[in-house]
């Protein structure tokens, strides 16, 4: 399978964005979530790359990417994603964003509509006053997590990231996730910058302007981003399909491996 990587240098002379491309076929851009790096997509890359060209990247300030400041917005992160497409000379692409990446994917679809072939919004919300917020315990954990050592934080996140069934039946897969996550150094300042970006994100009023075919995917037991957000998003985006994974929590790609195949099929239908 063809695999290559590179760096896009920003005009500000300081921003550097690391990307990886795996496989051949219709291109799909994967946009990862809070505190993670592009490497967190390893399961999805393995699932999609036999039929597609899968592009992952590290958000600014995370993994092998750098940025001038630690003040982020989802608009800036969307423009970063498009600058990678420009560098790879890809005009149109399928976009799959997960969690914070889903917010960035909404911005890509709104700010650069001609670049998006089809859109998958996974475990995400659209912001605004109507967004369903996590309970107080989850919010307190988010604030505490930034000060924890990486391994402790990764294990302490388990009750929030995964559904109750996975926490007992899929311990090996959860351990694999954490092992992979710990391979990338955690940048506390970038994490806080991403939290700010997620907090400021507000696309709710403009979701009806998204023209790309859209699939909304969400775990029914998601504690980080309550599932009510998926219903709201799917109602607002014209023609959007909704797929609720009954037993899954926030990190459904680990808990429901078959979902990657369904997402691949959705992209193939809109190729």
């Amino acid at each position: 399978m063809t695999s290559r990587s590179g760096i896009v240098n920003g005009l500000d002379g300081r921003t550097r964005l690391y990307w990886e491309s795996t496989g051949n076929g219709d291109p799909v851009l994967l946009i990862h979530g809070l505190g993670l790096s592009g490497g967190a997509w390893w399961r999805t890359v393995d699932a999609l790359a036999p039929k597609m060209r899968v592009i992952t990247f590290d958000h600014r300030g995370v993994g092998q990417s750098e940025s001038l400041t630690y003040s982020y917005t989802t608009e800036a992160m969307a423009d970063d994603a498009v600058s990678i497409l420009d560098d790879l000379q890809i005009e149109r692409v399928h976009v799959y964003g997960f969690s914070l990446g889903g917010m960035v994917a909404q911005q890509v679809a709104l700010r650069h509509p001609k670049r998006v072939q089809a859109l998958v919004l996974g475990g995400t919300h659209s912001g605004g006053r109507r967004a369903a917020v996590p309970d107080a315990e989850v919010m307190a954990f988010f604030r505490r997590r930034a000060t924890m050592p990486a391994e402790q934080a990764a294990w302490a996140s388990v009750p929030y990231n995964y559904g109750p069934r996975s926490q007992t039946e899929q311990v090996d897969r959860i351990a694999e996730d954490i092992e992979r996550r710990l391979q990338n150094p955690f940048n506390e300042r970038a994490y806080r910058g991403q939290l700010l970006a997620a907090w400021l994100h507000n696309c709710y009023g403009r979701l009806d302007r998204i023209r790309a075919p859209t699939l909304v995917v969400h775990g029914a037991c998601d504690r980080i981003i309550p599932v009510a957000n998926a219903h709201m998003t799917a109602e607002r985006v014209p023609g959007a399909k909704l797929k609720i994974l009954e037993d899954a929590g926030h990190l459904y790609p680990t808990e429901e491996p078959a979902v990657d195949e369904a997402i691949g099929t959705f992209f193939a239908e809109h190729g």
């Binding site: 005009l11 002379g13 003040s71 917005t73 608009e75 800036a76 912001g127 605004g128 507000n202 009023g205």
Partner: protein, 87 residues
Amino acid sequence: MSFMDDVFERTVDVSGRVAKVVLVPWGGAEACVDAYEAAIRAATDVQLNAARVIAVEPARSVLASCADLTRDIGATHLSSVRWILDV
């Protein structure tokens, strides 16, 4: 919901309704917010294009950084305004 949260929600709600009425002569709240967004994007693009043309440092870096600042400060304004106006 606590008493203070309730007061905050009501204040924001009333402010949003008042702003919507005030903005009617200019095409309504949504049109005004869209126009502001378009202006921010235009200002950002002008600075970015200038940075691409002026390939001399530090002018290029400064222009690109100003473009980023314009976009991000504008994005923060827009997010807040959309939240208050609920548009």
